[in-house]
């Protein structure tokens, strides 16, 4: 233990500048996080600061590990009575004390700043530190252990960065699960994020092996091989997984479905744009759909829509899974958007097609009603966290939650209850379109109840109201109705459209007018009873 402390103290004396840099970058990061709670628009600082923080981590870890460099044969320390376990423990202690601990404290401060007591969230904060330690600190430690200099380390990191961009982009070629902006807010970005869980594990495990091997035996070549193998395995798994996901059915038929949910092509008058499609332009296509069967006091979250087009000559175009939509009780009409490559469009346009459409939705029952009256500042929303209005008189709410975003949340706003003064309600440039029901905002269900790794334990959710462009206004005193829908069951419907003429469904752009009722009036949510 004394040797650990001895090496630790030496490193603190030597690397106090790097340690200070890390702490300064962390303070700047936290300042930026707090600043962004009230100013979402990115500026130069908010772009730079989040990049600087990991760079200071890299610099610190590379420098302090390479103080007792494990690569080479000239280091004085290799012929001194260092115990390798003590040396490694000292380096880990440095990471824990000067990276994890300050981030833990910063997390607690951010929670307190956001209005949450840190005490009930200590376990969550520790979990975040564990994730942060596993990724990126362990890989950085491994990289530092197999590189000779800071320059070599940073060049390797740059190479890995380029590789990661590559593996983030390449899977998109296989999986086009990018949720197109379909007019509703709350759309989630579902593109693969690079490494999946298995990929993460396959990346961290070889890092641990490389660290152990390098510290115990200084076998640099073998350690590097482990790391390269880990990266290759992670890349392979990531690509294979993305490819498999792109080809498998992510929303299989539920075993049993009690809800009579129906979806069909909406027989509306089609008015494709007159402007011809330019070569190499991607072509927006909108399929008007009509859904019914969402029970009263319930909501449907359309998680995926898949459109497959088949030409008479057997040519097949697969739009993969796209879209993200909230359905309300009653007859819902909306336009499911997808895009086609110019070449596919030109090939399929002239011929009558068969369209196979699949819609998968989760049905939620509205639950846990809570009416909250907004205030000029921050106000608490049980089950969500602490919320604020996004500028006075505008229709967006943003809420901070401790550790994780809340589950599915729906917020209704009755314009009749708006407390906005007349001077705030300037006449809109475009007259509002008729709306049946109440404007609403929503947030889809979260994927995990566990916090993600990262620095800030404050998760921010945005609630832009459905009629955002129509200037639904919130002012201090405006009541908002929150519900926390509970999942009931998953439904899926498949249907086919014969004699489908692609050109009829071409759209000018990706904008959507939102869901409508059978009468063509846009649908809001029914008031709570």
């Amino acid at each position: 233990m004394s040797q650990i402390i001895h090496i630790f103290c030496k490193d603190v004396r030597h690397h106090w500048i790097e340690i200070l840099l890390c702490q300064a970058a962390l303070v700047a990061y936290c300042w930026n996080v707090v600043r962004q709670w009230s100013n979402f628009f990115p500026d130069a600082l908010s772009t730079v600061i989040p990049l600087v923080l990991p760079l200071t981590w890299c610099f610190f870890i590379l420098r302090m590990v390479q103080d007792e460099s494990l690569v080479g044969d000239r280091q004085f320390w290799v012929t001194r009575p260092y115990q390798w376990k003590n040396l490694l423990a000292a380096k880990i202690l440095l990471i824990l004390v000067f990276l994890n601990l300050p981030i833990f404290v910063a997390g607690a401060i951010l929670l307190a700043k956001a209005g949450f007591s840190p005490a009930p969230h200590v376990l969550g904060l520790l979990w975040m530190q564990l994730l942060l330690f596993a990724l990126p600190f362990v890989p950085l430690l491994a990289l530092s252990a197999v590189t000779r200099s800071v320059t070599q380390g940073f060049l390797t990191l740059l190479t890995l960065f380029v590789l990661m961009i590559g593996i983030t982009v390449i899977p998109l070629l296989f999986s086009r699960r990018i949720a197109h902006f379909s007019g509703l807010y709350g759309v989630s970005w579902s593109a693969p994020t690079g490494f999946n869980d298995v990929g993460d594990l396959l990346f961290v495990l070889p890092c641990l092996v490389a660290i152990g091997l390098q510290y115990s035996q200084r076998k640099t070549a073998q350690s590097r091989l482990w790391l390269v193998g880990g990266v290759l395995a992670a890349v392979t798994i990531s690509l294979a997984s993305a490819y498999a996901k792109g080809n498998q059915d992510p929303y299989p038929h539920p075993e049993r479905s009690t809800i009579q949910f129906h979806v069909a092509l909406d027989p509306v008058n089609l008015t494709p744009p007159k402007r011809p499609v330019e070569p190499d332009e991607s072509v927006p296509v909108g399929l008007p759909l009509s859904a019914s069967g969402v029970p009263a006091n319930s909501l449907g979250w359309v998680r995926g829509i898949r459109v497959v087009l088949e030409a008479p000559d057997g040519y097949r175009w697969d739009g993969r899974w796209a879209s993200n939509q909230l359905l309300v009780p009653g007859d819902n009409r909306w336009r499911a958007m997808f895009e086609m490559d110019y070449d596919d469009y030109q090939r399929l346009k002239p011929v009558p097609l068969k369209a196979r459409v699949t819609v998968s939705a989760d049905i939620f029952r509205e639950h846990g009603f809570e009416t909250i009256t907004t205030t000029a500042g921050e106000f608490a929303v049980p089950g969500v966290g602490r919320c604020r209005m996004w500028r006075r008189g505008q229709g967006m709410l943003y809420c901070n939650s401790p550790l994780v975003r809340p589950g599915m949340v729906v917020v209704r706003l009755d314009p009749a209850s708006s407390t906005c003064p007349a001077e705030d309600l300037r006449p809109p440039a475009v007259p509002p379109k008729p709306l049946e029901g109440l404007p609403y905002a929503w947030q889809p269900a979260r994927d995990s109840r566990l916090p993600q790794g990262g620095v800030s334990p404050v998760a921010t959710s945005f609630f832009p109201f459905w009629a955002f462009t129509d200037r639904v206004s919130i002012c201090p005193g405006t009541p908002l109705d929150f519900t926390f829908p509970e999942f009931i069951e998953n439904v899926r419907r498949d249907f086919e459209i014969d004699n489908f003429h692609l050109d009829d469904y071409r759209q000018a752009d990706y904008s959507s007018e939102g869901i409508k009722s059978a009468s063509g009036i846009r649908l809001g949510l029914p008031p709570l009873r």
Binding site: H6, H14, D67, D73, Q75, F76, T79, R80, P81, Y82
Partner: protein, 304 residues
């Protein structure tokens, strides 16, 4: 006498280059053993295998009865190692360097440390990176002697140093040599000739010989003969004669296994009764030059 260092068939290859070829060597405890040889002979490689910095391709090395492959941690408490190209923590001041090393060694002697600092005239407040090469070597040596090591391993410690600093280092080292075995590598024969008790000659990864200095000096002689009549060198000469040449009535050679009676008898057998024989002792440098020029590989005791 037991061995402080033992190499057995030690081989090291770097890809296609054989740096050490079946090296066998014993360094008795208490010896000051100089491993000499030209640059690139494999001296540093042998030492790095000994210190567990490199792994041997074949054979094995033992240091203080410990397999060199497991030489780490506490086993290094009794070994001092100084190398000419060692990377010291340049950012440390000399005092901090010694302070840092101290807790690693249970046998660290503060009085000895102070003595060494004084003897080497070390500037405690200066950073290692600010020191001259000679001063850095002194600091490294002080940090390797202050714990009374049983074995001191020095890899080309005097290379590029001015004579004054070299003498100071040698003096400092010799003062501790009584309680330790010293294993030193050098390509400069003159610098080890005065203090080494044993010497080994390494060339192109092979050990040409290894023996005590006194034995080596005793068994090499420059021989000059004056014959009664002009003679030519016969085809077959005794194997221990090196660099033999004849000019009229004068014959010169180097006897690598000198024994006055035996050598004289061999001379008579080859040339008959000479008019005059002169046996001249040789310097270490002359011996090695002769060895290098001849390419002789004599085992200990002078056996070819």
């Amino acid at each position: 006498m037991s061995s402080a260092i033992r190499f057995e068939n030690l081989t090291k290859r770097f890809r296609r280059v054989t740096a050490l070829n079946q090296l066998g060597l014993n360094v008795p405890e208490g010896a000051i053993y100089a491993l000499v040889g030209p640059n690139g002979a494999g001296k540093t490689t042998a030492i790095k295998i000994l210190m567990n910095i490199f792994r041997a391709t074949g054979g094995h090395a033992e240091v203080l009865n410990v397999d060199s492959r497991s030489l780490a941690g506490k086993a290094l408490n009794v070994i001092g190692y100084v190398s000419e190209n060692q990377e010291l923590p340049a950012w440390m001041r000399v005092e901090a360097f010694l302070d840092y090393l101290r807790p690693f060694y249970p046998g660290w002697d503060r009085d000895l440390e102070k003595e060494l600092v004084k003897q080497f005239d070390l500037p405690l407040n200066r950073k290692l990176r600010e020191l001259s090469r000679g001063m850095r070597m002194k600091a490294a040596l002080a940090g390797s002697l202050a714990y009374h090591p049983r074995l001191i391993v020095l890899d080309e410690p005097f290379g590029g140093l001015d004579p004054l600093v070299r003498d100071e280092l040698i003096e400092g080292m010799l003062e501790r040599a009584a309680e330790a075995t010293v294993f030193i590598s050098s390509h400069d024969l003159a610098e080890i000739e005065n203090f080494a008790s044993h010497v080994g000659y390494l060339d192109q990864g092979s050990l040409l010989f290894s023996e005590e200095m006194t034995v080596l000096s005793d068994r090499f002689r420059e021989v000059e003969l004056t014959l009664a009549t002009p003679a030519t060198l016969p085809q077959k000469l005794p194997a221990t004669w090196m660099q033999a040449k004849a000019s009229a009535t004068a014959v010169q050679f180097i006897e690598s296994r000198f024994d006055q009676q035996r050598t004289s008898a061999e001379i008579r057998q080859v040339f008959g009764e000479p008019r005059n024989i002169e046996f001249t002792p040789m310097s270490l440098r002359s011996i090695f030059l002769a060895m290098a020029r001849t390419g002789h590989g004599l085992e200990e005791g002078g056996q070819e």
